[in-house]
Amino acid sequence: MTGSYAEVFFLAFFGIAAIWFGIVVFRTHSMVRSAMALLFSQTAVGAMFLVMQAEFLGVLQLMMMATEMSVMALFMVMFMMDPGGMGAMDMSHQKRLSLWAGGIGLVAALAVSWLPDWGPVAQNIPDASRQIELLGIELLGRSMFIFESAGLTILTAMIAATMVAIAPRKTGEDA
């Protein structure tokens, strides 16, 4: 277990960072700051993936989340009435219920995760290039159907979002 201590340490470090930034998301009054905090949280999650030697997945996570959080920040500014968080209004409701839900969810997840015996650690991990190779074979082989349907789903979502977001045209007016 040579790399295990380092692994555990970095896992814990990035994990706690992710959680802490997650909390910041909901505690700060500034909208942009919450977007940024979310970005950092996701980045920490991506780092965790890298620590767990899932290089492709980690990179994917980092790239995608960066883009998404930026877009989210834009939307924040567009739609929020107080993006800077200058006002001191509390923008939350059913706090107790949510706290309880969150708490119970946390405890339940921890119980389910920690109580059972998951078995021994797997030792042989393919290296990164091998992982990509295997993933590619998996993707275009056994999971072809899932991949295709995922692609179709994305297409549908894009069209749907565009349709929803297009301003309705008033009849009888010049385009």
Binding site: I19, L38, M72, M80, S113, A161, A165
Partner: protein
């Protein structure tokens, strides 16, 4: 008892709890979407942890990850489209004012 796995799963649990709290307690649609992002991130962490520490040979774990990632992207896309439409018709995306479906 695998320590790393426990830590990773614990982190996942923590993210899940925070995300749930946020999803339920925020008034703004975008903030709710953020909460859902955090929940999905927790799912991803769990997935990768299980893949890495129990079955690193089976690529179906990474496949699952990709699907969840797809779901995240799709959800955000459609969600923001709805937010734009709502903003256009109402002028805000505050969920407190969205009572039209009251029964």
């Amino acid at each position: 008892m695998i320590v790393e796995l426990s830590v990773a799963l614990g982190i996942g649990a923590g993210l899940f709890g925070v995300g749930l709290y946020g999803a339920l307690s925020q008034t703004n649609l975008v903030m709710i979407i953020m909460g859902v992002e955090l929940i999905l991130a927790a799912a991803l962490v769990n997935l990768v942890a299980f893949w890495r520490y129990l079955h690193p040979d089976a690529m179906s774990g990474q496949m699952f990850f990709l699907i969840v990632m797809t779901v995240m992207a799709v959800e955000m896309t459609v969600g923001f489209g709805i937010a734009i439409a709502r903003f256009r018709s109402r002028g805000s995306v505050e969920m407190e004012e969205a009572r039209e479906l009251k029964g």
